[in-house]
């Protein structure tokens, strides 16, 4: 598992304000990488630098070991945070035009546009002006604009914002398809539940620095607290007096607890069994939101 797209020690200032400090991370082929951070953390700036829309003050972005140049970037697919299309152009003309700007021939561009619109369930609106489309459909056209030239890399800034739940599923499906074909996909989002469900890898940015990066499972494991959930048959109030246990929540027979260092989870289970039947007992995985909160506040 190697990173094909690497961002290496990239810094960028706007005036006196440093918005990116030594940003370093990689995106792996065939995996969906979620790029998470608060507003103003530096996600959009990073993505713009990857696409060459902004210049970095320091650092390089490389593709398969070589610094990115324009011909390589032309094979990237990009969806900017600030969405936009020509309002008075038809959906088909628009996508064909963007495809041709990426170097496709006329017929090729037309054929691919038709197929893509079919895939995104936009065929019926193919001849309509973009301004006549609903917001959700405009977003789908925007996705089509990023995919038309079968990009080798996808960089999507907030691809899910403004999408209705059905459109989210369509887009998720399309992104998974691309990843399955080996395309590295980097997407930013502030919808943490969605990122949690979708991504294989995670990059967390705060105040212009990368706070955590890696596989979702590894991150979870490394940020896992010694936290357990238990459900017993009767009231679980006795846990308050159990040595080494700090109760997080207690609701009749259900409780969530943290274990102090030096205490064994099996100890707790044995005490519970001694008091009666235990319906469930197990470690609690931290949610992405919890990891995010911890990483960012650190």
């Amino acid at each position: 598992m190697t990173d094909v797209l690497t961002v290496d020690a990239v810094s960028r200032n706007f005036g006196d304000r440093q918005v990116l400090k030594d940003v370093t991370f990689g995106v792996t082929a065939g995996r969906l990488t979620g790029f998470v951070g608060a507003n103003g953390a530096g996600k959009t700036t990073t993505m713009r630098i990857i696409l060459g829309v902004l210049a970095a003050d320091q650092g390089v972005v490389s593709w398969r070991g070589a610094p990115l140049d324009r011909p390589t970037r032309r094979r990237f697919g990009y969806m900017p945070e600030e969405r936009g299309l020509y309002p008075k152009m038809t959906v088909t003309d628009q996508i064909v035009y963007l495809g041709r700007l990426h170097g496709l021939g006329r017929d090729d561009a037309r054929r691919r546009t038709a197929a893509l619109l079919e895939r995104l369930q936009l065929t019926e609106r193919a001849g309509d002006h973009v301004e006549k489309l609903s917001l959700g459909n405009q977003q789908r056209v925007q996705i089509a604009a990023a995919l038309i030239h079968d990009p080798e890399v996808l960089v999507l800034d907030e691809p899910f914002s403004g999408l209705d739940p059905i459109a989210v599923e369509t887009v998720v499906g399309v992104l998974r398809e691309r990843a399955a074909r080996g395309v590295p996909v980097l997407f930013s989002s502030h919808q943490l539940e969605l990122v949690e469900r979708l991504c294989d890898d995670l990059v967390i940015i705060a105040d212009g620095t990368i706070r955590a990066a890696g596989g979702r499972a590894e991150l979870r494991a490394s940020y896992a607290l010694p936290r357990y959930a238990i459900e017993v048959a009767a009231d679980a109030g006795w846990l308050r007096d159990q040595p080494g246990v700090t109760l997080v929540s207690l609701d009749g027979p259900r409780a969530v607890l943290d274990l102090d260092a030096g205490h064994d989870d099996q100890e707790v289970l044995r005490s519970a069994l001694a008091r009666g039947p235990v319906r469930s007992f197990g470690p609690v995985q931290p949610s992405l939101a919890e990891i995010f909160r911890e990483v960012v506040s650190a």
Binding site: R48, G52, P80, E82, G84, Y97, L101, G103
Partner: protein, 357 residues
Amino acid sequence: MTTFDAARLVAAREIKVKLRDKTFLFSTVFFLLIAVASTVLPAWLNGGPDTVAVSPAAAASADALRQSGVTVRTVASDAEAEKLVRDGDADAAVVGGPRVLALEEAPGDVVDALSRQPEVRLLEPNERDSYLQFIVPFALAFIFFTTSFTFGLQISQSVTEEKATRIVEILVASIPVRAMLAGKVAAMTLLAFAQIAVITLVTFAGMRIGGVDTGVITLIAPAIGWFLPFFIVGFIMLATLWAGAGALAARQEDLGAVSAPVQMAVMIPFLLTLILVENPTAMTILSYIPLSAPLAMPVRAFTGELAPWEPFLSLAVLAATAAGLLALGARVYEGSLLRTNGRTSFRTALRSRSLIS
């Protein structure tokens, strides 16, 4: 794909959009109608008296009238001649006296045909008539002014549209900024040129149909010959400025204020040329200042007081300035294209090194 290919794609899109734009189509049709109206209509309306009734008492006038090209109808009496005029069967009549009869206006060509005019000898003849002397400089200046203004404004609008709709970021990520700029300028230059060419052709065709003396074509040929290169270089120079202005505005509403300096740069030279057209010294100066050269130099080529090398020198100055402004316009364009939050100041755009070019 090279920058040139990308620029061609951009230009093709701009032209396609423009050819479907109702404002553009209407303005072209409107100009064509004016061209037809101003050439064909006068000849058609000013037909002059075609039929002249001549009574026996004025039979001596018949030959002179025939020579002037009118149809002569010989009638039996003065009374019958008068009746024909009253009934509208003849446009005028010549009766005993000789007197000329007409309904409302004195028929100039009948009167001329019957008059003896003294011979005139001009000591300093001017081969151009005074009407052309006035209308040709005005027409050339007016064409350059309206074209560079209307098409220039459209370049600005098209740039601002891409910024306002935010599609600009996708474009910038796909093709070089220079290709976008070059494509737009090329498309508008081509359209402006095509519009003028069509109008010119229709005007000349109208002159033939209307029977207007086509000798004017040879007279104004030198002016047109110089007008073309000055027009192209001058138009491109201004087009880049318009594109830069368009990039500074984030919304169409800002465009008026942001493009005001460019509007002045187009308007002031036009007005100066019109005001100072009779002043040779001023016109010589104007024909070397790049902003007014495309207006003043073709006019001087028409009026004739011009050394052969002068247009070349002026064109070189214009081309050098155009190249300089092209670089400046491109810089402003690149520096402000992605600043979509509100108006960008000229200085910020120049200082900004946000884009890779």
